[in-house]
Amino acid sequence: MIALIILTYALAMSFFGMPPLGKFLDPFIGVVQNEAADSSLKGISKYSVTAPVNVFYDNRGVPHIFAENTEDLYFAQGYVTASLRLWQMDFISYAAAGRLSEIVNEGLLDYDRTQRRIGMLESAKSALALMQQDTTTINAIRAYTKGVNAYISQLGYRQWPLEYKVLNYPPEPWTELKTVLVMKNMGNMLSGYEEDFNMTNLMLLMGEQQFNKYFPGIVPDISPIVKEKGGRPNPALAFEKKPTYLNSAFVSSGTLLNANTWNPQLGSNSWVLSGKKTKTGYPILCNDPHLNFSMPAIWLEMQLSAPGMNVYGVCVPGSPAVIIGFNEHIAWGITNGCDDVKDWYKLKITNDYRKYEMDGQWINLPYRIEVIKRRNRAPFYDTVYQTIQGPVVYSGSFTGSNGTHANHALRWSLHIPSNEVLTYIKLNRAQNYQDYRDAIKNYSCPVLNFSYADKAGNIAVNHQGAIAVKWPGQGRFVLDGTTREHLYTANIPSDSLPQEHNPADGILFSANQHPTDNNYPYYYNGYYAENRANRIRQLLEHTDSANVQSMMKMQLDNVSYFSAETLPVLLQYMQGRQLSVQGQRALDSMQHWKATYTLNDNMALLYNLWWKRIKDYTWDEFHSFSFQSRVPDDHILLAMLRHEPDNDYFDQQLSNVHEDAGDVVYAAFKDAIELRDSIAAKRGGPQWGNYNQVSMGHMLNISKLGVRKQPSAGAPDAIDAVSATWGPSWRMIVQLGERPQAWGIYPGGESGNPGSRYYDNFVTDWNKGSYYPLQFFISATEAGKNTTRKWILK
């Protein structure tokens, strides 16, 4: 008897982080039940919809939801999203709130503390309080929440998504706050970068002149989103004066360190063509946001239809409405605005953390206690101090990955309560340019570039978000936290944000480049990328009578604008240099290279290694700084190669001779040949695809549940910005017209269940550069005729 009890108990418990074996291996409820391709729940009844809602699934598993009113629609969206992606959205809400310690045994407490301390949970709560004041928003979120919970309430252990069984915790009820957390998570992903500490050190080390030469604001060869008409040059945008407070007394230099987690190429493309540039005479809108890949995929494709609205596009699991998409009248896209909206203030705090200095007075330092629940352990209580600038992220014993941010306050636009959900709800219903303007006017974080086109022929682009009015240099460097003078209080008014509407040349585009030229009256800074924008401009200027096919070709364009610019300069330096027979052959082939990063290109790998080596040799000085620093942008190096072959940076620190640009380029080429050969031997050939392999990891890092190492075309600088773990997360092309025609694809699949055929079924087609026609149904009747599978919620 005792043996039986012990055995049953042992099998019901979880040991060493393993799921409880009894339940997990039980064929009737355990892991094999997750093999079922589709949820066994269908024909749902008894739910709080006022009229039956029809959900039609097309041949790719995309749900098309037709409801009689908006609330039923969002209820159904919540229900259907949960049926496809419950674990993913739930997990993201835990991660955003800093609650992972509740579900994982150990190792994530520091992560949770950081999330709490940067204010994710706190700002989600205050944003929710704001959203609750708007009936439209809160009704949508409430209905969505009810829908998710209606789904969860039907689940027994048998129907739990696999990941719950593996980690052995139950799905918890969805809440309105969780929806806001999911949106804040997106905001953090897109606006979480800053390099204030790094730039502070560099400015102090290099001095004003050198700093501006190597880390300039606006540079000549750019294609800004908006060209300011009739403005006067704003000197602060081109040349950054050293702010007077910034001196070695302010920062004791030498120990500052900056963890570099950002990927500056994490960007996106979007462009619109007016009717005069297209074959049909109606505008075309193209968008491909680049994000880190994950399985389940970031996006979920859906059609949402109710009286007054019929919209198709991609949603973020966990949030109501469509985020990027189109309806019968308009289409819109988004790219990251990339502005610096995250600033650090250096504080003076008393030893006991009771007071801090402000304008010569010592004022009370308020705090709150964050309770972090832990699995199988007592909760952890964390004290977070809050100054008027923002939370003190690192303090006392919690110094994060490096000690330098300690006792600095974080001011971040993500903290300002705002209602992003309403923007998307309104965009989904928008019928014309005024509706679009009204939808985005209160949009605040993260800063995004919205692209717009409608069937009346209008096109527009808006650099939209909460961007503070700053004095020149404010926020690019660490700010002084002891004076109110360093606080910014106002935002650039919505009317004055960079925007363009129906330009004469009929093209608008955004690809994370500078939003303006230097005629913009306000100072701003950010982390912009210019190469893709330059390439897009180059292609669009030569585009006439564009159609969907030519736009697909453009989204898949694998030419690097920057490589094409640089190659002739490098080749010039190689003239008359002594090379091995093999090296000479490679150089000859390089002469004909068109800077294309296609799957089978034989030169791209060599070129990439070559350029990387040139960078390493040139910027070796940066590795000997006492602080960790990023190196200047590539275009700075190109300008040096063109005009300053004798620049001191070309000289190797560790060599006895004096090197110039030619020596660096030559030595780098010889190295690159060797490196290329060893990589080619390992990977079965020098073709670019063998080297550029893309992976989509499962969110729990279970390798077999992810997509691993698919050879792929594309490069970070190319429009088709596919790289190892990130790239175009949703390619969409919409041809407006009497009835919109649209194509799209994302790497992943509709279902979050690894046992489903719809889990990763788009990946191969996506990687090949194929598109799916998006089936936009005008009515439920039409949807019924063209689909085979249907749910009714009543």
Binding site: M1, I2, A3, L4, L7, T8, L11, A12, L21, G22, K23, L25, D26, P27, F28, I29, G30, V31, V32, Q33, N34, E35, A36, A37, G156, Y157, R158, L162, K704, L705, P754, G755, S756, R757, Y759
Partner: protein, 125 residues
């Protein structure tokens, strides 16, 4: 082993299989609920004085029931999940499931039998 004993063992096995499958039709009951009727079967065996080799008959029935159920559910669906992890991991899951089912059924039947046959006897396998 004479034919009658074989027959009784086989009959017990079939009864057990039926119990294992039928108790699992209801989602609401805890997953280990099948050990209760199996235990009662053990008691019945003593009462009727059937010559059943309890642990091994129980183990075999449990093993067969859980293994074949795992294989059935794997085959009935697309079976993509186990396929992702490869044939070896799939076999471990299926065999592991058989082992769990077998051990629990065998032990339950044996326990049911032994608590009524000899209260003084020590529980040994």
């Amino acid at each position: 082993m004479d034919t009658k004993v074989k027959y009784i063992n086989l009959k017990t096995g079939i009864v057990l299989l039926a119990i294992l499958l039928l108790t699992r039709l209801a989602d609401q009951l805890p997953w280990w609920i099948f050990i209760v009727p199996v235990l009662i079967t053990g008691i019945v065996i003593t009462w009727r004085k059937w010559p059943v080799n309890c642990f091994w008959v129980g183990f075999l029935s449990g093993f067969i029931a859980w293994t074949s159920a795992s294989i059935y559910f794997h085959l009935r669906s697309d079976g993509r999940l186990l396929d992702r992890f490869g044939i070896l991991a799939g076999m471990i899951i299926v065999a592991g499931s058989g082992l769990v089912g077998g051990l629990m059924t065998g032990l339950a039947l044996y326990t049911g039998k032994s608590i009524t046959t000899n209260r003084e006897a020590h529980l040994t396998l």
